[in-house]
Symmetry: C2
Subunit: 227 residues, 2 copies
């Protein structure tokens, strides 16, 4: 009797944007694994789940994925997280690891999956990505007709970003929070600020959806849609 | 008393991948507008809704969006569709127009919205895009870490497609059904068939998720994920 590992996307923030499938799966598992970047840290994904799902009988298992700048620390914490989840699976329990947004888009779950997929049964349940929810809230499309779009994480390389702006109808930057000033300067330079929508803390009380106000504070999970 | 127009994404095919918000909104509206490409044609989006939502008190309004190759016919049918929805809104009714997948990604709703947004209140509810659901079913990620991805509709231009393959970690082609042979030849030429997952009729009984078998028949709503 070996356990099953589920990766579940819980959507971008609004608890009602969880799918029926995600709610049912979470209510069915034995253990809920909650990725956090430090012990005792709050998890937005877990807050979403608590709003909608009946989890009073679940074992809650916070698993730390360090976001340290030191690579060795990140790898060590990942290894520990995998070991912790594995222990539950070996005991025959079903474990769901949750993620904000979609489970296939920049989720921590994929690291754990890769380490455990040869030994255990894996399932994945998709969630609404933040850029879809943000576009809907802003009453804009992501793409129409024959348009194409690019999605990039944060912002590594200004050349790649500018090239995407020139080649594609829509460019989406996720987890943009730490690079907002640099992105602002590039959008100003390329005269694209008018076509930019900022989506911060989508679906949460602190939500901001609107034009690019460079004087605001933006959190890590800020998404930009540039049409 | 003027009505409200809602655009609602119902996800890729599996009824359980509808969000709680979409189910509640559909059960709350007066009129359900169902886009079809010809009168009497079946709507997959409507089949999904019927599985999950209680719609016995709803007015069901099929609206035809012609997919004719003649532009004038497409425009005429769009105009008629908008008029039909407008009549309901003017009577003070709340109308939900549904779409497969996400409401902001290649949805017919955007045409109707553009024509009516100055006169009526609009709301949009996102849905799970087919490529997210397909990746989850195939147990692959869309993107991880610092990767970027491109989404393009069908397949217009082989140069643009090959460029995307070279520049981005993941390329997704939606509504690829009519161009499968051309895409196959390009993937063969560029030695990318091994990295390609085909997602056809995701979440439906006729679902196929797997490698690119060029001898299969594929429907219009086929998605390719090339990593």
């Amino acid at each position: 009797m070996r356990g099953t590992l589920l990766g579940i996307g819980v959507g971008p923030g609004d608890p009602e944007l969880m799918t029926i499938k995600a709610v049912r799966a979470i209510e069915h598992v034995d253990v809920l694994a909650i990725p956090v970047s430090a012990a005792e840290e709050k998890s937005i994904a877990f807050e979403i789940v608590q709003e909608v799902c009946d989890i009073k009988d679940k074992v809650i298992l916070p698993v730390v994925f360090s976001m340290s700048r030191v690579k060795e620390e990140r790898l060590q914490s990942r290894k520990k997280a995998v070991e912790r989840v594995k222990k539950e699976l070996e005991a025959g329990r079903t474990v769901a690891m949750i993620a904000l947004g979609d489970i296939g888009i920049y989720s921590t779950f994929m690291y754990v999956k890769k380490e455990l997929e040869t030994e255990f049964l894996i399932k994945m349940i998709p969630g609404i990505p933040s850029f879809c929810a943000g576009a809907s809230k802003a009453l804009i499309s992501v793409v129409e007709g024959r348009e194409s779009f690019v999605v990039m994480p944060s912002f590594q390389d200004s050349e790649q970003f500018v090239q995407a702006l020139q080649q594609y109808d829509t460019v989406i930057v996720m987890k943009a929070g730490r690079k907002m000033k640099e992105i602002y300067d590039l959008l100003l330079k390329w005269n694209r600020l008018d076509q930019t929508t900022v989506i911060a803390n989508c679906g949460m009380p602190s939500e901001y959806i609107g034009s690019f106000d460079v004087n605001r504070e933006y959190g890590y999970f800020t998404t930009l849609i540039i049409k």
